[in-house]
Symmetry: C2
Subunit: 351 residues, 2 copies
DNA sequence: TAGCGTTATGTAACCGGTTACATGATGCTC
DNA sequence: GAGCATCATGTAACCGGTTACATAACGCTA
């Protein structure tokens, strides 16, 4: 079933069929109706690849995600898909990439299948490779700051961590441990940096053993919780780099008989849905996942649809402190504004 | 940068370039090397749409998901993507469909963009619409039994629910409430059916108010937990149709001072990662998400690659009872075998 | 050295749309 | 009624690959 068959069935030419389909050239109302009727009757749908070949627009967006699990990623995909569909685009995902070379291979294979890509690559090594990888394809980096001339969006990880630490300090804590995310992960590193900045600024007690290793998984949090008792000096609060680890940690220390927040304050990051239902409900930092995905699509489409190349922009999304009872404070929500919220140009630099 | 430019640069014809690329016809080793070198130097990658147009293979698979959140969907996508990539396919997702008409529209738009689709449509209404929707595109139904001639895969929801109920009965419970999933959802309905079957078979006490409404969300579980006290007659156990609701419910009843499993046994379904870290760890029914996704891909590719149409098959995946302490039993794992595990032909019927 | 099979490569049609340009019909003005 | 603008439609080139078929070169045998 091709456009030519529809043309034959209606006694018109292929050009007219195409015009009706795309609402372009002038077409008599009667002709238009006849074409639509016949197309419907023959169940004809234009062939995506054929169309893509000469318009050079596939109406597909690629989404590349790192090798990680969890609710966070499903939310991002969901929001991206919703935003894309509003603009008549489809989403091609490729998840679970651990290694730059593999990602590059996928990126090449995407030539002619997508019009642009949204790349989420939280490895700190990303910026250096960004330019080489993405030079030939319009792209938006999600959650990895680019030092190249590529649009990018990020969460204010540092600001969120600082806000949480200040909250803990305000509650009187000076002995605060940090449960780290995977080394080399951009989000994890930024959150750690925020932790350290406040530890220094607020003259908190500092001990190397209070920077505990983790990898963002519930299990690593659980293991950290099991090992917690063995610390030579116990902190009064633990700030986990994400909620999943906080939940695992919570489960382990409660099994050991520790009471939260009575004996120990606990805080997380991400505010996943489950955190509200933890026992006790978990104080966390909310991350605007949906807004992030939608904005990435907007940005990408804007640069696809504008003829002239636009200067790359970097945008940081603010986070929000969600105070529940796991740190002993009364439940409330504090917005945490950051100065860099409005889009700011990244200063260009030679490659 | 097209194949013709590579041809010009090497002094060869486009046919030879194409042959080298696809490893087809006979090519001199020296020629092959020259082509590959030049392609690399010019950064040439074949154009997906052009290729798709005449091979009639896009090497893309579509995945249509319903309008639901949560870890379950991200796992399914992940596994599908991994399996697809092993076979050199890409995955085009379209999520958040609530309405058959909308889904049909997307399905049409996929013509010429994908070679086949994996459809997850847990609405009980799906089977009737399946044939009309999917007649023109190779498809595998995930988690919705088809009464039409379409391949399908499903979880043994009924068997899993029965196993859990028997476990509760074996622990001495006769007053068991069920926290339902959304009405019309296939998984939810099957789990409810399993609950009712055991209630009847084991002569459990029956009360209409013990079939509590829910919609699979944490929040609906939480609300059910808040309302729990108001029941005129309290059950000794609650079986939630999924873990997310169980977690919400747990949070609410614990806040009211109920002890689990002391005062009340609680069980879930899905065995999401978080369930292991609940306090108390949640007894649940494990669902083989990964295997399901991978198998769907295998099936779809098999029917794409075989020339002759193959008879549609329906396959049910077994579940596994995961016993933790939320029901008061000692922690252990029971496999629950079902008779229908091996693929069985769905009997064909006239449409 | 003619004849033939085998191997390496070239030529051009084709996939199913879009669109620049050509053509034909119609209505309006003077 | 000739000239011209406007509208509706048709013709055919083109997008960038693949592949059937043609051709050229080579080696081998009789």
């Amino acid at each position: 079933m091709t456009i030519r068959e529809v043309a034959r069935a209606t006694g018109l030419s292929v050009a007219t069929i195409s015009r009706v389909l795309n609402g372009l050239g002038p077409v008599r109302e009667e002709t238009r109706r006849k074409v639509l009727e016949e197309a419907e009757r023959l169940q004809w749908v234009p062939h995506g690849a054929a169309r893509a070949l000469n318009t050079k627009k596939t109406k597909n967006l690629g989404v590349l995600l790192p090798d990680m699990h969890g609710e966070f990623f499903s939310e991002v995909i969901r929001e991206i898909d919703l935003a894309a569909r509003r603009h008549d685009y489809h989403v091609l995902v490729s998840s679970s990439h651990s290694d730059p070379a593999e990602m590059q291979a996928v990126l090449r294979a995407l030539h002619g299948r997508v019009d642009g890509v949204i790349v989420m690559w939280p490895s700190s090594a990303a910026p250096r490779l960004g330019k080489q990888l993405l030079a030939r394809m319009p792209a938006v980096l999600l959650n990895g700051v680019s030092r190249d001339r590529i649009d990018s969006l990020a969460i204010d990880n540092h600001g969120g961590a600082v806000a949480m630490m200040r909250h803990l300090v305000a509650l009187g804590h000076r002995r605060i441990a940090f449960l780290e995310g995977p080394a080399g992960n951009y989000d994890a590193d930024e959150r750690l940096r925020g932790y350290r900045d406040v530890v220094r600024a607020a003259r908190c007690e500092r001990r190397p053993e209070w920077e505990i290793e983790g990898d963002f998984s519930e299990e690593s949090g659980f293991r950290a919780g099991e090992a917690f008792r063995a610390l030579r000096s116990l902190p009064s609060a633990v700030f986990a780099a994400n909620d999943a680890m906080a939940m695992g940690f919570l489960s382990a220390v409660q099994a050991e008989g520790l009471r939260v927040p009575g004996d120990l304050a606990l805080a997380g990051f991400d505010d996943i849905p489950m955190s509200r239902y933890a026992a006790p409900p978990l104080t966390s930092v909310r991350v605007p996942i949906g807004a992030l995905g939608a904005r990435a699509v907007e940005r990408l489409l804007a640069s696809l649809e504008s003829a002239s190349p636009r200067p790359p922009r970097h945008e940081t999304f603010p986070t929000e402190l969600i105070v529940r009872v796991s740190c002993g404070a009364p439940s409330q929500t504090l917005r945490h504004p950051i100065s860099a919220f409005n889009a700011t140009n990244v200063k260009e630099k030679k490659s």
